[in-house]
Amino acid sequence: MHSYSWVQSALATAAANRLATVSLLAAFWLLLAAAGMMRPHNIRYVARILFPLGALGALAMFCAAGSFLLSGSAPETMTLAVGLPDLPFHLRLDALSAFFLLVLGMAGAGISTFAAGYFRSGEGTAPGLLGLHYHVFLASMAVVMLADDAYLFMVAWEAMALSSYFLVTSQHRIAEIRQAGFLYLLMAHMGAVCILLSFGIMQGGGWEFTFAAMRGAALTPLRATMAFALALAGFGAKAGVVPAHVWLPEAHPAAPSPVSAMMSGLMLKTAIYGLLRVTFDLLHVRFWQWGLAALALGLFSGLFGAIFATVQTDMKRLLAYSSIENIGLILTAVGLAVLFAASHLPLFAALALAAALIHVLNHSLFKSILFLTTGSVLHATRQRSLGKLGGLIRYMPWVALFALVGTLAIAGLPPLNGFVSEWLLLQAFLFTPQLPHTFVNMLVPLGAAVLALTVALAAYVMVKFYGIVFLGRPREASLDQAHHSNWLERAGLAWLAAGCIAIGVQPQLALRAAGAVTGMLVGQTVAGSPSVWRIAPIAPEQASYSGWIFLSMILCVVAITFLAVRLLVHGRVRRAPPWDCGYRWQDARMQDTAEGFGQPIRLLFGAFFWMQVHLPSPADEQPRYRVHIEDRIRRALYRPVSAMVQRAADAVSFLQSGRLALYLLFSFLTLLVLLVFAL
């Protein structure tokens, strides 16, 4: 009885002071990180104790952030004693950061649970070290969202980049992985520089780097635009917006699957958080041209990601391109929100913003499911190439079931969650003809068509992914050795899949949580639900959607039909070999391959690709058909730069003679020059 009241009072304290709770949870993750180093080579200790504890922390984070959002509390702030002498660390918990912490907690809980079952010893870095990076990564993401001054923000941002870099390169003995890690780190730092410059402009001459000071700074339109452009570039590089997307398809496949899930599901979202924070909170003016720029970038990224995902043959690369696509969708929604907000249509801005936020949440769930299932598949089969998988639904039914939920959700199909955010976004697009600018009001509605194309292409990609990995017949004989995933992995997947279904059928909660954010950022909240069964963002007679009716009606009809067929007719089934138009000589190799799925897209959207097709001649002894596909943007934008850097480096390489005396001379000369100029 006594202990019960103690728990109660602790909970009450936590509820009253959520910022402290959330910060303590971040500190708890740091503690777990340190604890991993005590016995770094003991896999049972790290995997069975630390990771589940981390998952519990994430769950607590989810609860704390969720209760903050739903109670609609005022922002809480806190100043820490540590930091620079005249700039202590500032923390702040408001609706925006709470929403992203909710995402972090929700997806993080599932991923950590899965990771507890996933990591094996003998795979690259020692488990304790992995645990250290992993939990630092989690904690730094939480701090990014809590930071209330540019200094702490950048410290956490860099910690996030570094810890994820180490996670990506956990199998650092493979040269490609080291290269992928380097590319990632490079892009992350270019982005960080842009963000830093953006903060530099936003402080507005007062040299105060707290966010509170930035909110009050008066910027000229030009400076504000520069700040926005730099923020878009910096956060865009982190989020993988085209043309800064090149690191994503390299880094995601290189990392272990839970880390890919974490990076794709959560880290990319920190960039969206930063963009929203800068655009809607720190800057006090917005121009519709910004929205148009973000919208165009987002639509292009979305289409680009979807098109490239269709031609991939490696399952993790495919998912990485799909992440580019989803980030594109989110950026589209953000751009639309800016466009509406700057045109003084706050209600529609709130609608678009809600779509963006809910898609952030959704993507963190279903993309995590998919990346985690690739992890299970990888462990079970040792295969990553789509050309060598197939038929796994018969060997790994649970994983296949969860992957099916993730697949249908990411394809944007009702009654799952992916559909909700895409529907909201399309609803927002319906109002674009009301924009008060000629041309814009005609061009932007076409964006809805691009969006629809992107979403439908995503469905194509996902049919390809699921169909080739889990359905059909195994393309390699060794696949019947595929084994089950363990219970921790399944528990993590089940949590995420349950989230997908819950948001899909009951989007009201997500909409309410997003409503708290839109209320804070654009001063408007989309209309509440007309009943508990359905949502109607603008007006019930204009458009409404009910996941409940969808799910229950389909299930009812399925059940009734099933029973009716059984009762009225019969339920006999005969098993036989597949028919396939009576063609006798068929084997598993005749199924459509990943390349086959990409072929129509290569034909239709040839302009996007740089292709080299090698056709065998009729006289070839061993005919081989080869297609080499590259990214045009990467070739055109990055190759020249890297070649230039290489040339510059070659030009100064004579400095590197290897003689110690020469190096000392350089230092000496530098010292002299400094002395001369300083004195």
Partner: protein, 320 residues
């Protein structure tokens, strides 16, 4: 009053389920007439369904549960769509579950389920059909979305009952954008329902088939459900078209028996006309090569967007 709405809802769904094969049969009959063949009886689809239901279902050895569940899900999705589209009354409780855009999502769900089921057996034709079906799907979606965008601009709502109500309260005008949208919609309808310029529902010619390639491995009751669901899909699409472009006669608020009888008669007349028109279009056109399909659907998209633009340019005084 609430109870009666549910009754009408049930009546409407039952009607759709019952009438859908009839529409398919009617189109087949019209096509035969137009092509100087002796026509199959109007009830042919029902006989077909009856035969299939009573046959034994043969399932491939290694088929997964997904393969056997897909026909039921497909049928369920189409019945749900039938509950949402207003055919004889607009006061439908379930119609609030989805506006036209959510309906696109529902059809996409059905399409993805079918494509996945087609890939489950792992035959060459199955996966080819799945790939092609998904391709037609992603080409058609922008076009159909733009059609609904037009509807939203014209009627201020994307909920289908709302569209029908709008027609009732505003005297109709011949608006070019309505005509553009209607042409675009018909083109999408043909593509989505595996009709002639894109796919031939009557062929099993191996290399040109799309829809048929996906259902090759099905037999018995599973095939019956899929065929029924396809009929329902065509019926639903036709009814969406009717609700958007020819809604006259649908009972608005008066759920009195006489009104509904009149609405039913109007519906059957309209379906007969639309079915005949579809048969005519199909008979007049040739099946396109698969890679001409993007052109066809790009044209549909173009129509829908032109409708939108023309409305934005000259729509200022349409309702005046």
């Amino acid at each position: 009053m609430k109870g009666i709405a549910f009754v009408w809802q049930l009546v409407e769904v039952a009607l759709a389920i019952a009438l859908a094969p009839l529409l398919t049969g009617w189109i087949a009959q019209c096509r035969s007439w137009l092509q100087n063949r002796s026509a199959p009886p109007l009830t042919q689809p029902y006989r077909m369904l009856r035969k299939l239901f009573h046959k034994e279902a043969v399932v491939a050895d290694h088929a997964s549960p997904l393969f056997r569940a897909a026909p039921y899900v497909l049928f369920g999705a189409m019945v749900l769509a039938a509950a949402i589209v207003p055919t004889i009354v607009t006061d439908l409780p379930f119609a609030r579950a989805a506006d036209a855009i959510a309906l696109i999502g529902l059809f996409a769900t059905a399409r993805v389920c079918q494509a996945l089921a087609a890939m489950d057996i792992g035959t060459a034709f199955g996966s080819m059909g799945a790939r092609r079906e998904m391709m037609i799907g992603f080409l058609a979606e922008p076009a159909i979305l733009m059609v609904f965008f037009n509807a939203f601009l014209l009627f201020g709502t994307t909920a289908l009952p709302g569209v029908v109500d709008h027609y009732a309260s505003h005297p109709s005008v011949i608006d070019p954008s309505v005509i553009f949208a209607a042409i675009g919609f018909v083109m999408v309808l043909l593509a989505e329902n595996a009709r002639i310029p894109i796919d031939n529902p009557a062929t099993h010619l191996e290399l040109t088939m799309i829809h048929e390639a996906m259902v090759l491995e099905y037999s018995g009751r599973h095939l019956a459900l899929i065929e029924w669901a396809s009929s329902l899909k065509l019926f639903n699409y036709t009814c969406i078209g009717i609700a958007l472009f020819l809604p006259w006669g649908i009972a608005i608020h008066g759920t009195s028996f006489g009104y509904v009888l009149f609405a039913l008669a109007a519906l059957i007349a309209k379906l007969a006309v639309c079915g005949a028109a579809l048969a005519l279009i199909e008979s007049l056109s040739a099946k396109l090569r698969l890679f001409r399909a993007p052109e066809f659907l790009a044209l549909a998209f173009l129509f829908a967007v032109l409708g939108l633009l023309v409305h934005l340019l000259m729509g200022a005084n349409t309702s005046a």
